[in-house]
């Protein structure tokens, strides 16, 4: 990939981060930490990899994206708006009454393929889409973003077993391994490591990458296309709250709104990347 495209993707990721914080601060409600950790992955998916058409959000042959960690939807909504699924102006309605941009995603929002909010359900749902694709001999792929705290849910592993059993090579899981969850460090709350080994043991082709390195993300997404007969797991090592010094690896910003001063400081820090 040429340098300019990489630069553009990094810029988009930074825009997603800034927009997420603006939305959360405006709504005085929402989850900043996970939006900041997944921003690079979303930029790579929506502005490089996914075969989608924002003018035809229900296009049958589109690639699907399942945001299993539904609370991290500010970044997701920002990416969808920037991609043209709905007006960017609508981001102002996030978490407000009568809005299409609910606190956790709903199917009525253009571009949304999965209504998340309850952890551990996205992979099960994605398996269904992937199986349907196989039955109908369609060549779309299903990308799923899950959290590391979310991986404590047993249903994730039920689904992992099934994806491998049904040889769903049209399924690409991405683990936003941001190390922190609501009440503390994941390794302290309930350790999920060694995560790559667990996924390998469940029959996945596993890639272990730096989830904030755009070049690595883009490369691994392309590499994933050549894997056959087994599902994929990209373990993206990330930092919760990435890009804002006082939010990084700080569990308090899982679901806490920055106050006015913190918001100002956060925006200043992110603007330095422009």
């Amino acid at each position: 990939m040429d340098k300019n495209k990489l630069k553009e993707l990094k810029k988009i990721a930074n825009e997603i981060r800034k927009e997420s914080l603006v939305m959360i601060h405006r709504a005085q409600s929402g989850h900043p930490g996970g939006s900041l950790s997944e921003a690079d992955i979303l930029a790579a998916l929506y502005f490089y990899k996914l075969r989608i058409n924002s003018k035809k959000p229900d296009w049958e042959d589109r690639d699907r994206f399942v945001l299993s960690k539904g609370h991290a939807c500010p970044a997701y909504y920002a990416a969808l708006a920037m991609k043209g699924f709905f007006p960017e102006e609508e981001l102002k309605t996030f978490r407000k009454i009568n809005s299409r941009l609910q606190g956790h995603p709903e199917l009525k929002t253009p571009g949304v393929d999965f209504a998340g909010g309850s952890l551990g359900q996205g992979v099960c749902f994605a398996n269904g889409i992937a199986i349907a694709g196989k039955l109908d001999k369609k060549d779309y792929k299903v990308y799923v973003l899950i959290g590391d705290g979310e991986s404590q849910e047993g249903a994730v592993w039920e689904a992992a077993m099934a994806a491998s059993h049904h040889k769903l090579d049209n399924l690409v899981l991405i683990l936003d391994k941001n190390q922190v969850q609501e009440t503390g460090k994941t390794k302290d709350v309930m350790n999920i490591d060694p995560a790559p080994d667990k996924w390998k043991a469940f029959g996945f082709e596993v890639f272990d990458i730096d989830g904030h390195n755009m070049e690595e993300i883009v490369k691994v997404l392309d590499k994933a296309d050549s894997v056959k007969e087994k599902p994929l797991m990209i373990v993206a090592n990330t930092i919760k709250g990435k890009g804002v010094s006082f939010m990084e690896l700080n569990y308090k910003f899982h679901g806490k709104v920055p106050d006015d001063e913190q918001f100002k400081k956060a925006m200043e820090e992110l603007s330095k990347n422009d």
């Binding site: 209504a115 309850s118 099960c124 994605a126 269904g128 889409i129 694709g133 099934a162």
Partner: protein, 312 residues
């Protein structure tokens, strides 16, 4: 003697019929496909049976994913184990109004020897509480087949309660099943019994016993517990002023509650709920259990008699 067949047989046979007609019909099961009879779809197309292993949450999530991809999934297991995936049903299927048909077999103490752990007595209550859900319990083989076809024609989520053991077939092929409509099986004047599932049969027998005591009761089959046939319930309550409900389910949250909800807002009257009196079942033959837990025809007849006596 009337022919007897389990409702789960009707489910399997109807599933095969609709799968033959529509290539988008798929079946999922959590390793109980031999018992729920969802296996029968394999006779039509083995690739449309999706083996989920003993993993009910994953089954429900996968069924939802299939439904947003143009498939018409029928997901089955035992009623009790479907409850393990309740929050998946709530947050993926009911919340999004997805076209997923859930079937829970081996419901009620009618399940018998397997005992408490296998006898779902709260499934109607929990699924009824979910917005968008249709909740059905057919009472015989033919009605089950008709119900599956009706659900196939209906676009939305549903829960169908199925039963393990054979039941007399009281309908014939000309029977017209209508979602949301109660079926008056016997007319009467002194009282009305609204029954569902196995209790339709017990109530019909009870009506015979009562006839010998010069008591003439309506017996109504409520196959659709949600949406419930409010109009019929109000009409017959007005006609008889003596309302009894009968179900092999906890009296809390099931058919009795549904009828009470309708009447309390429209035609308040004293009623009597026959069912499990907020307790679990146990191992035993269905007939023994129905006797011990007050669900057999004799008990239904006695309850109606006492109810009428006390009213006077």
């Amino acid at each position: 003697m009337t022919e007897a067949k389990a409702t789960r047989e009707g489910y399997g046979d109807a599933l095969a019929e609709i799968a033959k007609k529509n290539k988008n019909v798929v079946a999922l099961d959590s390793d109980l496909n031999d018992s729920t009879r969802s296996d029968y779809i394999k006779k039509i197309d083995p690739s449309r049976f999706i083996s989920m292993g003993i993993a009910e949450q994953d089954m429900i999530g996968t069924a939802a994913g299939l439904s947003v991809s143009g498939k018409i999934p029928f997901a089955s297991t035992f009623a009790i184990f479907s409850e393990r995936a309740f929050e998946f049903v709530r947050n993926i299927i009911s919340r999004n109004k997805l076209n997923v048909k859930i079937a829970g077999s081996h419901a009620g103490i009618f399940t018998g020897e397997d005992g408490k752990s296998a006898q779902a007595i709260e499934d109607i209550a929990i699924y009824r509480a979910l917005p968008n859900m249709v909740v059905i319990q057919p009472c015989d083989y033919i009605e089950t087949k008709k119900a599956v076809h009706a659900l196939m024609a209906y676009n939305g989520p549903s829960y169908m309660r199925l039963l393990r053991n054979p039941l007399p077939i009281i309908h014939d092929d000309n029977y017209k099943f209508e979602l949301g409509k109660g079926e008056v099986l016997k007319k009467g004047k002194d009282a009305v019994i609204f029954a569902t599932g196995t209790m339709v049969h017990e109530s019909l027998q009870a009506a015979e016993i009562l006839k010998n005591n010069n008591i003439d009761v309506y017996v109504v089959n409520i196959h659709t517990i949600k949406p419930i046939d409010s109009k019929l319930i109000i009409d017959l309550a007005k006609k008889t002023n003596c309302v009894i409900t009968a179900e092999d389910h906890n009296i809390i949250g099931g058919l009795g509650s549904a009828v009470a909800e309708v009447l309390s807002e429209n035609y308040p009257c004293i009623m009597k709920r026959i069912g499990l009196q907020d307790c679990y079942g146990e191992s035993g033959k269905p007939a023994e259990l129905y006797d011990k837990y007050g669900l057999n025809a004799e008990h239904v007849a006695r309850t109606v008699k006492e109810f009428l006596k006390n009213k006077k």
